[in-house]
């Protein structure tokens, strides 16, 4: 029933039109760069030499090598070795330190056993954005410090999850959690904005230009138009994501801890879901103007209720319900898990299927809305 040749026809046509529409194409590429640039100016992107105190509840070669790495990195400046949490906290309250790093009891033993001991990093998150860089860097510092030790461990304990767990505790501004994730969050927001916008005019443009009449007079099916008109833009989304990730790395020093594969799967699904959301809009909107208005109508909850702006956990029930129905909410969780915490497929499965489900529902709704007549 569905003809691959006809999907290809629509696909190729969209590709040519996209290539010809230079201004739009340029905007698609410029948007992520501009957004990152804006944040780049607003944020002290590269805080160095942040004063820190360390509390050592264990001692040994591992602990010392971690301490040495901390000292070497120019993110942290160790100003005190404290002997109790209280001592550290009073220093932080006084503003003498921004970070308190605690190596727990039995750290050496647990590490060797492969029990993934936790290192606590308490951060003064009252300037959450400034806090983000060093916290992200701490991950990398720990990885480097423990790499040689890891070599000596039995093979079965190597690979997989990182050997230690960094527990980040934000003091004074628990909501600072979102800001830490500004770049991953930005990736979700940029993809939401541009992908929905692109396909929201997919059909309305044909209606407004009158080309829909010739198109519908051919044997092409609704599903073929839908697939042919959405899939070309996955490529655009992938280009945008690459720009954000590379810039995030270079400008914001956001590490990419996890595997690329689960991330790519999630991202492709997410881009596709947004394209489908836009496409659904284009089956409803009569004019491009209407399509744009509906697109903005989607943006608001995507930014406010997805956990990008406000922490998801703190939202009221109804807001959470709306948030869960948005693809970006799930994507943000995935990106954070994968990028910052190194989660793999099994950890993010619970967020991937909701995106797939949303995609399927949107596709079916679009097909139901699509009229193959001009009425």
């Amino acid at each position: 029933m569905i003809s691959f040749a006809r999907i290809k026809a629509v696909f190729l046509k969209e590709m040519v039109q996209m290539r010809r529409d230079r201004p739009t194409f340029a905007i698609m590429i410029m948007v992520p760069i501009m957004q990152l640039g804006l944040f780049g100016f607003a944020i002290d992107t590269d805080p160095r030499n942040m004063p820190a105190a360390v509390e050592l509840r264990d001692d040994g070669p591992l602990t010392r090598s971690f301490l040495a790495s901390l000292r070497q990195s120019d993110y942290f400046r160790i100003v005190e070795i404290v002997h109790s949490l209280d001592e550290g906290e009073s220093l932080m309250k006084a503003g003498d330190i921004s970070y308190l790093i605690v190596i727990p009891e039995n750290f050496e033993r647990d590490f060797v056993r492969g029990d993934r001991p936790q290192i606590l990093i308490a951060a003064d998150a009252s300037d959450p954005v400034a806090a983000a860089g060093p916290i992200a860097a701490a991950n990398e510092i720990a990885r480097r410090a423990f790499a040689p030790e890891l070599e000596r461990l039995p093979r079965k304990l190597r690979g997989g999850a990182p050997p230690v767990e960094l527990v980040i505790q934000r003091q004074y501004n628990p909501a600072g959690e979102t800001s830490m994730n500004i770049v991953p969050g930005l990736l979700g927001v940029i993809l939401t904005m541009t992908m929905i916008m692109i396909t929201a005019i997919a059909l309305t443009r044909e209606v407004e230009r009158g080309t829909i009449e010739a198109l519908l007079s051919t044997p092409v099916r609704a599903s073929e138009i839908m697939i042919g008109k959405t899939t070309p833009y996955i490529l655009v989304g992938a280009i945008q994501a690459t720009i954000v990730l590379i810039a995030g790395r270079i400008v914001f020093h956001i590490p990419f801890v996890g595997d690329l594969a689960p991330f790519l799967v999630a991202m492709t699904l997410f881009i596709f879901a947004n394209l489908m959301l836009g496409y659904l809009i284009s089956t409803v909107a009569r004019t491009q103007m209407q399509a744009m208005q509906m697109t903005f109508f989607i943006f608001l909850p995507s930014i406010l209720l997805s956990g990008f702006m406000f922490p998801f956990a703190a939202m009221p029930g109804w807001a959470k319900a709306i948030g869960e129905a948005l693809p970006i909410t799930h994507f943000l969780r995935i990106v954070r898990e994968v990028m910052l915490k190194g989660a793999g497929f099994s950890e993010i499965r619970g967020e991937i299927w909701p995106i797939a489900l949303i995609l399927a529902v949107l596709a079916l709704a679009s097909l139901a809305r699509f009229r193959r007549t001009l009425d």
């Binding site: 003809s3 040749a5 006809r6 290809k8 026809a9 629509v10 190729l12 046509k13 040519v16 039109q17 010809r20 529409d21 230009r209 009158g210 080309t211 829909i212 009449e213 010739a214 198109l215 519908l216 007079s217 051919t218 044997p219 092409v220 099916r221 193959r372 007549t373 001009l374 009425d375």
Partner: protein
């Protein structure tokens, strides 16, 4: 499947937009290989009817078959075998001529894509401009491209909605020669037009006004059917003669044909009375002629708009 039955056979087609009935209980039967003219004043429902025939609009009422397929239920299959040329240019202005043709050819899953597109470009005479964007073509060339596009899959039925609007006389002749060739090969054509020189080339004509079919006859029989009498009037001062005729009245159609006035009406005696008003003026010559197609259609359109105006007035009064 359809054998020798009519290629279009629809009955009672009705289309409403809101409360306005745009096509009202429309019947049409077009035999295979025919060139069927579709005439009527602006806004009379021609485009709407053609769209219903090819499945682009859902009829509110009516039934029928196109190419032996159910017009309401089997529009997918109908679309494969019909070539519809839209009144408004509806190809992609930001695609080149070749890309447009390739796109359409792919949608019909045609084999030998390149060969077909090349052949189409050649017959259009556009081979060396194949890379030009369709949007940069002149109006007449756009029409010719659209026509080529709707024929690329060699349809059995052509639905052409004012295909030659804005096309130069030479190209129009070529176009009609081509239509007659197709007709000889068994291709059926339903073509809407406002040009009389094209209407006379049709085997049969359906005339529609404000959604209602007024006439459906072999082209040659239409003047008789309408029952008009006519005079051809020459005068030294045509403008003066026109003014005087208008002040007398009694005719249904007064139209300039080159250097003469054609006066037509259903009442022969009234025509004589009108003519008497200008007899004897310098250069006046009055000659009885047979009413032609154009007088007939002008008469029909005048009557139709009168009916419409009356209906409108009644509606407003009610």
């Amino acid at each position: 499947m359809s054998g020798n039955g009519p290629v279009i056979d629809v009955r009672g087609l009705t289309k409403k937009f809101g409360t306005k009935t745009v096509v009202d209980n429309f019947d049409l039967s077009v035999p295979k290989g025919a060139i069927y003219g579709f005439l009527g004043p602006n806004g009379s429902g021609k485009t709407t009817t053609i769209r219903m025939v090819c499945g682009l609009l859902k009829a509110d009422a009516g039934a029928g078959a196109v190419l032996g397929l159910d017009v309401l239920k089997e529009s997918d299959k109908i679309k494969e075998r019909v070539g519809y040329m839209t009144q408004r240019f509806s190809l992609y202005e930001d695609l080149s001529i070749r890309e447009n043709l390739e796109f359409i050819a792919r949608l019909y899953s045609l084999d030998n894509l390149k060969g077909r597109v090349d052949a189409s470009l050649k017959s259009l005479g556009l081979s060396d401009r194949a890379k030009q964007l369709a949007g940069t073509l002149s109006g007449g060339w756009k029409q010719r491209l659209a026509l080529a596009a709707c024929m690329i899959h060699e349809p059995e039925l052509l639905l052409l909605d004012e295909p030659t609007a804005g096309v130069d006389p030479k190209a129009r002749r070529d176009f009609w020669d081509a239509i007659r060739d197709y007709s000889a090969q068994g291709v059926t054509t339903l073509v809407s037009t406002h040009y009389m020189d094209e209407a006379v080339q049709c085997d049969r004509i359906a005339f529609i006004a404000y959604g209602k079919k007024l006439i459906d006859e072999a082209t040659a029989d239409i003047p008789d059917k309408v029952g008009l009498f006519a005079r051809r009037i020459e005068a030294g001062d045509l403008d003066d003669a026109t003014r005087r005729l208008k002040s007398v009245g009694g005719y249904d159609v007064l139209a300039r044909f080159g250097a003469a006035i054609h006066l037509a009406g259903r009442n022969d005696a009234a025509l004589d009375r009108a003519a008497a008003a200008i007899e004897g003026l310098p250069g006046v010559q009055i000659e009885r002629i047979d009413a032609g197609l154009e007088e007939a259609f002008i008469y029909l359109m005048t009557g139709a708009s009168d009916n419409f105006a009356n209906g409108f007035a009644n509606g407003a009064a009610a």
